[in-house]
Symmetry: C2
Subunit: 250 residues, 2 copies
Amino acid sequence: MHRLFCDAPLVMGERAVVSSDDLHHVKNVLRMKDGETLALVDPTGATAMGTIDTKDGFCIRCGEVSPSAAQEAGGNITLYMGLAKGDKFDFVVQKAVELGASRIVPVAFARSVVKITAKDEEKKCTRWNKIAREAAMQSGRLFLPEVTRPMSVAQVCADIEGMHTLVAYELEKNCSIADGLASVPTDAPLGLIVGPEGGIEEREVEAFCASGAVSISLGSRIMRCETAPIALLSVAQFVRGGMDARKEEV
Amino acid sequence: MHRLFCDAPLVMGERAVVSSDDLHHVKNVLRMKDGETLALVDPTGATAMGTIDTKDGFCIRCGEVSPSAAQEAGGNITLYMGLAKGDKFDFVVQKAVELGASRIVPVAFARSVVKITAKDEEKKCTRWNKIAREAAMQSGRLFLPEVTRPMSVAQVCADIEGMHTLVAYELEKNCSIADGLASVPTDAPLGLIVGPEGGIEEREVEAFCASGAVSISLGSRIMRCETAPIALLSVAQFVRGGMDARKEEV
């Protein structure tokens, strides 16, 4: 069944609040008719059946609402990703959503060549959330992942307090991904930190570790900055059961 | 130390056979001088120290040759990848090399929209091997992975005979990646088969399985055709120790 991500909480009997792009898609691409149904998910994760209603203009009428119950295999993963050049960040957003990230946080590291001005921030975030939404629909995600505003290293340190977090660090030689993941319960929220093209500075890694993060190695091959988050997310999902369809509860 | 992939077997005392691009790089970018040394690897995996020799024109003189001894963590993995649209195949070649694939085989599936004519084949293969070489140098690979000529499904069936092979199939519901990898000794050569945009047809999967392949699921999220091989390779490397720098023998 087709699934739509709504922009406001679902209320039984009311019109579902969906973007005009999505409404256009349902009406003119899927060509759904009066009485046909689709699945609705709201920002809280609550779900409902939606029914096309054309009596008073084309809309989607919300049925009985079920509180958030679905659980995606692999659980809650936040990817903290260094701002990167060109369309690399776009690429990482798309792939991270396909691989089940719940939340993507752009991070301004000391070595991030790309600087985002306050003026650009709004535009960039809108663009990244649009990519995330498209990838979520295409890959059949149960929830819509969020791309947050960019954070500084200090803000990330505050954000990861109390969360199990791994930071990929190329100078780490002793702790493997397996070691790092072994200390995290598979259903606990997980943070993954990956740096920009130039890597993460030692003092930044130290700051994350002081906030409870564990520094890990991705092995002896050097990955590009856009490859590292994909590899790390793939492995984390695998270890947490997120690549096993039998572990998903819908 | 800088590492060059040579095009012919190394012979002690002779000039190393390297591409003109690589020689240009050593001479004009790295600006190496008479007597300076670098590491050489030949197509058999044999290694030698090379010394810059400018007495009779700029060349790299080969030192004592050691037979292939180095072993990359993760071992021997062949990726059989469906021909895909646009620059997706280029992208997969680059990422697969970063993630340690030893050999990449383009496959013409029934649903491959892209068809390669005999005329194009030479040009495409040259291009893909150039991408593989650049990625191998950039990521610090010990061996130069090969991109072969495209194969048909029947040719792949012959190629995987006797090899442990997993085929990612979206209609597979019972066997996870973990199940599939559990049956493969971590040091045995491994084949991974991933289809094109439209997926693999059932009869194609049946043909692979009749040749000994095991059909696996990548989970309930739908990955794009270029994401699946990256996720699958990442997980396979992880399980085989290929993301643990401590397991590499140089």
